[in-house]
Symmetry: C2
Subunit: 219 residues, 2 copies
Amino acid sequence: MPAAAARKPRVSEKTKERRQELRTALLSAAERAIAADGLSGLKARDLAAAVGCATGAIYNVFPDLDSLILEVNARTLAVFQAHLAGQSAANDGKRLTKQDATEQLVDLGLRYLDFATGNLMRWRALFDHRMPAGHAVPSWYTDLQRPLFGLVERAIRTLQPALSEKESMLLSRSLFSAVHGMVGLGLEEKLGTLPVATLKTQLAILIRAFAAGIAQRRG
Amino acid sequence: MPAAAARKPRVSEKTKERRQELRTALLSAAERAIAADGLSGLKARDLAAAVGCATGAIYNVFPDLDSLILEVNARTLAVFQAHLAGQSAANDGKRLTKQDATEQLVDLGLRYLDFATGNLMRWRALFDHRMPAGHAVPSWYTDLQRPLFGLVERAIRTLQPALSEKESMLLSRSLFSAVHGMVGLGLEEKLGTLPVATLKTQLAILIRAFAAGIAQRRG
């Protein structure tokens, strides 16, 4: 729409550069704040103070705090996924046995736990953050999350080759979510945090039971 | 300690009664606010306005907002637990077969989903609320949560009688947490909400696979 474009004030190269620097500084400050105190303590005023800008200046580079949080979470997702991929990446291209597939799922569960305990606040922020009512999650963010379930999918299809693509995708999301719930409630202070060694054993038991059940399943 | 008691100012019966009324009114207002807008929208100022008291008056009857939220959550827990208990209560005293136990676990999972979809914001508040740093969850609240896992326990011991009490308790917490994760991420807008019918099928598959795996387990 050229009319709208014409109404837009021209932004000089210098200003663009300064804005980019401010964006980067705000993202890093928000990441540090979330890692230290969690999502609930995140305040625009504190971020502005941390990078030395006026509070209002944040909104020159992010439409709102939620957009800033989504970008911090996108960075966390990338690290999370790289952490989870370890064993699965090593097995890429190899022909998996059902036994391999089961062990790969257990390995994924333990890596999930490992990431959550090592990055508790950042990991929680991934799931605690919700868009304000009426605001949809942008599709670029939704797309970033998909590969998380994908890591589980190959192992599940190895266990039960009769599954359709849709079924194995759904089961992957389910197993991922089950592991998520076990790690989340296992580390939850309110329920009495489980020792990490106990949580590891429990994850392995549930994942192996699930894998055995899926491998047996008919139709 | 009589010395401490003597130092306490006398509170008249009339004042006690008014405080009790204010407590009740604030709890109901907070429950409504959480049910409508979730935990993150809860503000002392709005609650005071809803019941017609000064904001400061809240702190005559609750030490802080977290204590008020814990009491609202305690009410939710009671309703949640009654909702979950349905089939398990009907089976109380009956001798369960492994098949019965599996179906009871599936029923519990579906009831879990049913409660969460019917009371989304109140259910989320149970798990989203965290005590401020350095404040422990009071033991009366911790005690209220224990029976939730207990509902699963009998079925798990029926499936695998060789389990010790501690093992079956841990497995119950794990299965409860797995179902929690599936429901939580299944209803999460950010991941693309799953249709309830799909989520039901997935819960049944995962729980049956888990039950079959546990029943087979040696040692």
